[in-house]
Symmetry: C2
Subunit: 396 residues, 2 copies
């Protein structure tokens, strides 16, 4: 988290307090007893943790008519007061900057897009600043402060350092994005890999709520994967994890930009599909939408390109399942626009390559527009806000 | 844990107490302050946790001359009294039953082997009982009780239920091994997959001590993998995890017993190497030792079989590294007897297939005889002992 000004800080000074807040955030209004049970803490610890959060207005406590016991006092429900604070989340793609304003419960209040014409970090940063300014101006109507900005970028991102080490689609190397954006916007900034950000949003607010082990697999320009194991996002000891796109499944397969052959992304990523579609159909194909259209038109060979892509994705998912045994795999990403073209192959090849009871993993799809990815970026900003120490320790 | 009699129980009634004990067990004699720091607990929590453990003799506290501060009282060191309790660990292979007697610190005191001629569960159980009886008789000289038995078997093992669901090498299906062994020996019994058991031993006492994320990859009859992520062993939501042997790397590769083609195990497992060695050399080859000998003799084509095996293992390890980014991968298993024949290929193909900084993962080898695997089984028995509730809740 990078910040240029002294921003409002979260009044939870212990891991237990962050944990209770996160539990209430994910699981909705809860009695203190239920919050304690779910967080694995004592009732006394919960009472201690919620006091400053209630005082500062981040939590609210209401009498719950439905939960009124037959005897004794009615059980109050603790909930997050979503309107207490606002956050901005931004997703940067090769074509657009998508920004959302969310409340503390990560509900989207406003959404804006700007096209990207220049991929340079400076130009993208100008768009991010413009959208942020616009959303903050409109946020004044909501009567709550904007407390953080999350930016999600594909590629190798060092969240702790706030830098984009390498983003192939933007052609960025070692961009200190968090510092730059904090200077431009004056907000505390978190920069994270876009798939990890989406996974955080799914864990806290989506199809991963309550699951200890799950994976988000994104298909589109890249093939990515966010892994939650033992309830926590896997980051990798050296910053690399979830690279399902670079699971190599065929030594005789097409060359990948990573230097290997037969990576899932080299078969099923948008660029690979477009290239293969041109070879197979002899038509001019310049983007994924055109490739999908050819397959839908029934142009000979076009459907087979998607069948191969689906098979590769299914085998990648099976590899994840065989190694980690997640309870659920959530497939998302803009590539789902072609889902009818390869759904069967994904599920069939997953089932064939899954080992034993790993096949019992629940593989489901969630079409999520880019606003949901931007919401994931906002979720990382919320996460950082509620887990950061009130005493700044970073260099920002 | 299955038991037929009321055995001695561990006097730690809270997760914090188990955690402190485990910390002292793994990190050797520690001051209370250091134990608190490493376990992330308060000094008060440590004091509360160690009191009953000191009283029951599981922990001991000694003045430490070296750690004497310049001022004030000398800092006492807390350590596990290894001699306080004994455990038996058994590893079952297709050829032998290997049993060790360990102390509470999982140091091997005695080791015994019996050949397996009949793979049936009944015959193997008789051998396990015989070795257990022998070790318990000899254990009487050590003046400490034997408090548990751990059995490690390859294949799909349900530790919670104590059953071997499927073990291909033993040709077992749904064997309630923990119940059977508890009835035969009268000891509390833990049954676990052998690679997972070895991984527990590495985490607590071996090359994984202090690491939050690491993998143990075993090569030999099978190719297995134990994963520790966020400091905990990955078990898989449906009981399957770490199946690196069934990472499929080549759709044109040899057929695997799992039904797929080109699994790492179908290229680099002992049976695959023996089969391929026969095809390539035209010689009679019946086991891995003969295959190694042919390669060492320089028989044409023999070295290439190992080169392919090494390449497959390296690619499997790279897949593990690309997906979860471990700090270290420890290669072990009886297949290391051939390590000089494929070490270079393992490391080269790992480096080529690792994505970006995932290549910085420390890949190392640890030749561990089967006694170390049996020690892993003893480690699971110790683990179960120190984390089990004093009030039995199982059906045993």
């Amino acid at each position: 988290m990078r910040s240029t000004s002294r921003a409002e800080t979260f009044p939870a000074h212990t891991p237990a307090a962050s944990q209770i807040f996160t539990t209430v955030l994910s699981h909705g209004p809860l009695t203190r007893l239920e919050a304690a049970r779910r967080a694995g803490l004592s009732a006394a610890a919960v009472t201690k943790a919620v006091r400053p959060l209630l005082a500062a207005g981040y939590l609210a406590e209401d009498a719950d008519g439905d939960a009124r016991p037959a005897l004794g006092r009615p059980a109050n429900l603790v909930r997050v007061d979503g309107g207490r604070a606002l956050f901005i989340g931004v997703k940067v793609t090769g074509d657009e900057v998508i920004a959302v304003l969310t409340d503390l419960c990560c509900r989207i209040r406003l959404a804006r897009r700007l096209p990207v014409t220049d991929h340079g970090a400076k130009a993208v940063l100008t768009s991010v600043a413009e959208l942020t300014h616009e959303l903050r101006t409109e946020a004044e109507d909501f009567g709550a402060p904007v407390l953080g900005l999350g930016i999600a970028v594909s590629g190798d991102v060092d969240r702790a350092q706030g830098t984009v080490r390498y983003s192939p689609f933007l052609d960025w190397r070692d961009v200190a994005l968090a510092d730059l954006a904090a200077m431009t916007t004056g907000l505390p900034v978190v920069v994270d890999n876009d798939v990890r950000a989406l996974t955080v949003a799914e864990q806290w607010f989506g199809a991963g709520v309550g699951l200890s082990d799950f994976a988000v697999v994104t298909v589109g320009a890249g093939i990515g994967c966010g892994l939650v194991i033992h309830g926590r996002l896997v980051a990798g000891a050296h910053g690399v994890a979830g690279e399902i796109g670079h699971v190599a499944i065929d030594p005789a397969g097409p060359l990948c930009h990573c230097g290997n052959r037969g990576c899932v992304e080299a078969i099923a990523g948008d660029a690979a599909i477009v290239t293969r579609m041109r070879e197979v159909t002899g038509r001019q194909v310049t983007d994924a939408a055109q490739a999908v259209a050819l397959a839908h038109e029934g142009v000979p060979g076009a459907r087979e390109v998607y069948a191969s892509a689906g098979e590769a994705i299914g085998r990648g998912i099976a590899t994840v399942a065989n190694l980690f045994g997640p309870e659920r795999v959530i497939i998302s990403g803009e590539g789902l626009a072609a889902y009818d073209l390869f759904a069967e192959q994904i599920l069939d090849s997953f089932a064939a390559a899954a080992f034993g009871s790993a096949a019992r993993c629940d593989v489901q799809t969630r079409p999520l527009p880019f606003e949901e990815w931007a919401r994931g970026a906002a979720a990382t900003a919320i996460q950082s806000f509620i887990t950061s120490s009130p005493t700044p320790t970073g260099k920002g």
